[in-house]
Assembly symmetry: D2
Homo-oligomer: 342 residues x 4
């Protein structure tokens, strides 16, 4: 049983029949429970999310009550144990903390190499870098495209670090999947359902950012799209939601981390760089996310953030990144969430 339909006190026989017909027309069964005060119908079968609104528009219906969650593949009901994802020799979701770091956008081979070496040296696990960049203005720098992917591949070849990079269009999924170890879906494409479908059969793990206007439930339904295409390797990434606060660029919703982990078996990481938009909040919010249970972090670093072509104000300098890694290590050991060892 997935949903209960509460009929109005005053409903007629015809109104009841309409509800039963609607369920039947949609291939659903019904279990009636006629009480002294109310008639309640239990809906049987595979309901779809819009059903509640449809039924509530019927004249005889008082209210519907969902009994189980609409995201059955992403939820813990069918799969209670944590999903653990292996990327190269890095394990995500297995109890350790994984750090994905790099530049927001790939700018040059020389610079990306310097960044990759630092990530490796300081103990980071995965290299991030944007080859295809979402920009709020059509007049801004939008990334190097496949040239950027080649630079990332070169950095991987030298350091051995797996690569995570964003894909923004269904037509680019194949090319990005041929270079990347993890495909990233950005917040602005979190509800681009065709793209979710497409990465759902790309054969690579997907890092799915939360839509900036998505509830945790919406977010899990986006993951459900990918899972429904047969790709079970989804990493959720909290990256901040839109609120009225203007002191930060977004509001990093730290409570979404333990909430998503309670509702879903998928690993959850956090992106405090985009989530706050302020470099000086990245360290405290990284520690907070891990303390709240995050399986990893996604960080923006830059050899010279003052000169970065995009998002400079939120990038960590190398020395700050080094310090952060030390603090994560110390805190992680204490609370039983050590940095992943590769």
């Amino acid at each position: 049983m997935r949903m209960m339909v509460v009929m109005k006190k005053s409903h007629t026989k015809e109104e009841l029949q309409e509800v039963l017909d609607h369920l039947k027309d949609n291939g659903l069964g019904a279990h009636m429970s006629v009480g002294v005060e109310r008639t309640v119908i239990g809906v049987l079968g595979s309901i779809y999310p819009e059903l509640a609104e449809e039924l509530e528009a019927f004249p005889g219906v008082e209210e519907t009550v969902p009994i189980t969650r609409p995201y059955k593949l992403a939820g813990r009901e069918l799969k209670p144990q944590d999903t653990v994802i292996k990327v190269g020799n890095v394990t995500i979701g297995g109890g350790s903390v994984v750090v994905m770091a790099g530049e927001c956008s790939v700018e040059s081979e020389e610079q990306m190499m310097a960044t990759a070496r630092l990530v490796k040296e300081v103990g980071g696990h995965i290299l991030r870098g944007g080859a295809f960049k979402p920009r709020t203005s059509p007049h801004a720098f939008r990334g190097l495209g496949e040239d950027g992917l080649r630079i990332l591949a070169a950095a991987k070849a030298e350091t051995g670090l797996p690569i995570v990079t964003e894909v923004m269009d269904t037509r680019d999924v194949d090319v990005v999947a041929s270079y990347a170890d993890i495909l990233q879906i950005g917040t602005r494409n979190a509800q681009n359902y065709y793209l979710l479908d497409e990465v759902g059969h790309c054969g690579k793990p997907v890092l799915l950012k939360r839509g900036m206007a998505s509830t945790v439930e919406d977010w899990l339904l986006c993951a459900e799209y990918i899972l429904a295409r047969g790709n079970g390797q989804v990493i959720l990434c909290e990256r901040g939601i839109r609120t009225f606060e203007t002191g930060t660029r977004f509001t990093l919703d730290v409570s979404a981390i333990p909430l998503a982990k309670r509702l879903s078996h998928l690993p959850v990481v956090a992106d405090p760089s985009h989530g706050t938009g302020r470099w000086y909040l990245v360290e405290p919010m990284s520690l907070a996310a891990v303390a709240a249970g995050a399986d990893g972090l996604m960080l923006e670093i830059h050899p010279n953030p003052d000169r970065a072509l995009s998002d400079g104000a939120q990038s960590l300098k190398f020395e700050n990144f080094r310090t952060l890694m030390q603090r994560l290590s110390v805190m992680g050991e204490a609370i039983g969430r050590p940095l992943e060892r590769v």
Copy 2:
């Protein structure tokens, strides 16, 4: 001059030089104004939105002040007069009110024909219907695809009503453009920049819904993407934003209508069906949107909303739609915004 950079009182000569170098590196000029208390730099040239954040990360910079808007093509500075769009013999943005109505998703030819005839009979101007449907769950009905487009074309052939329908993927732009008179970009794709690029050279007018987490400025920057590809026929559509209110599905931001019209020359329409998610709010909010200056409305109607496969709770019944059209007509005549006559 597009931006002013206010230096810190205590800035050093080197810090000032860094700012000037950064501007130069990005092809921008500088106009210095050294006051008793402060040094202020006017930035000359075509700045990009991220510049403000980049500069604010420099040690010597106190603050940046934008002087003109970042959306130059969508804004009224370069083009003060209203954009007027002709679709068939319907004029959008010329002072009259245009009604686009139809079903959320095309369900069957018979039903769409009944809807199209009613829209025509009651005085509606454009037929809407979804062939490709965004659904929050992968398990829900997702539209008939090209079959749905063919049904729309048949309805157009019979009634003469132009068609507006959603496109959700770059790969579908050509096929949708071959059937539709207006291509719709939905709220979940409002920042799908590749799709915006693609409809930017499709040769057809585009109805651009506001992202549910987009400010009015963000929204105009999305329009800027389409305009920058050479397509000047963009219709903005306010469809509700995400807020804490749960009594409505979204909060239809009526004030965004006069605000967008003040900032931009593009026509603005409103979608009170999706914006409220409650059929009983569609009439008052339609009247409100037009009273606030909307150039048109996008409405969901359904021969039998209790049975609609999607969004039934927000669809108007035929009789309610007829009443609404009468009230729009009466109010429109009084306030100088009559229904478009074709």
Copy 3:
């Protein structure tokens, strides 16, 4: 019956008994309905809002379902017909549109007299003016206090216009009630329950602004406080909610007007001056609010808005106010919501 409690499939006899005991301890009755799949308990008696959360913390409880609304005095269930309030010879909520206008804060007798005469001349119905002013900074001008009330009384004596003015502290209710015809509760005190209690037995009508973070349901519960003290003369005032949009000061939630009128019998007015914070949006949003069903408007006008000590950017000039009244009159006649005639 007010609430249904759905027990878990797997609940034990002891868990069921705990729920029944908790209801009994709180003076509530229970109506059991044991189905094949589920046990459902109907709660009888006068439930309180927190009951749902309390019960959901019990181990055997799956979910609770509210059946009726928690605001019984403010809701239409017990009192379906509209509440109509008489203030002097002005009728609020009787189908006409009432205009309350004046300055945000009383600055001087001379200026308030000029404003009052204009409001009267142009056809406004009620004079507003702030004697006690909420200011976000302790260093700003906070109103003239009782001197301001005396100036308002003088303006009333000359023009015959009833007065609405804000009360901010329980200790001031008596003095404000001795001058004012309507006591206003501001958005920042919308959930100041002691103040709501106090105006609940002041014997005068109360204009209750919506809290900027209140849902429509929260707002009606605030009205419920006043009604529960025996004062049935409550006027609801929509004044904008906090959202992520920064192009306006708040987001005037126009859809809250028809929604509140559907749920409650109380009259609803709108304040587009504070709701938008932009004088150029006041006219379109005034028309929108009335088109959506508002029983009146609250407007800020100022002989010289550039010089106003507070909120100048949102005040209408006299000439704009005059134009707005003409447009309201024309539109109101057309849609059957004429300006109140006194």
Copy 4:
């Protein structure tokens, strides 16, 4: 200098004079800087927050730029070093973590005693309990009033724990201050300026919850009210903001903790019980808040949360509280934020 006024390119001499007159009328000085492209006026003297909006309404003004923060007493500019507050032998803001715990509302002496003994035994520092309770419904239990205060005093007498309790009305400040060690201002009274004034001269430390719709800047301006009355002992408390997320009761804004500490010298604590409304999120969010830099926590515990008269769903059971204290201790030692030792 506190603000810069940027004049329009095309401003007239008269428009410039109007701005200068307005500043003079409000006791402010002006420093003119006439550049080739722009005239910029630096405002001298003690500006008030509304000044920006007032000036922007002048025809010749392009924009105003704030240079320093409007909260001068709460900000770090005038007082860079951290404020440290002593309550009994407990030190707040000195680098250790202080735990305030207890029941949401005082229900009975017996129960409060049990709670107080546990708080003491497990290592908590301050006892919380509500005698005056804000409730969203007038029909709900609203606290024991002064009887509740007496019960708190008895619990203090036995355990030695200082007391924090809420005050909701100006008329109750004296009586609450005669029992309490810290007066709490709730989120719904965060902008009740008369109450802020009143606790500003009560002689006791004040715990100021953030308004659920307040930005960090708004919150610091509320603290400014208390500081401006001479009471420098203000503890800021982040307790969650209103967002669109419905999976939690509010969104605990963890990033507001390091942000407020950066902008202000006042200590900052967090309330994960009210902030999430879910008992199972209290532990992860407590750890997160401390990792982000919080000086303390405010927690709701209850001997039997299933039976609590209010907020049961968010209360920790005693055993969960004990576990949390152990984890806080371990993590705190590792990251240099140990639990306060008394």
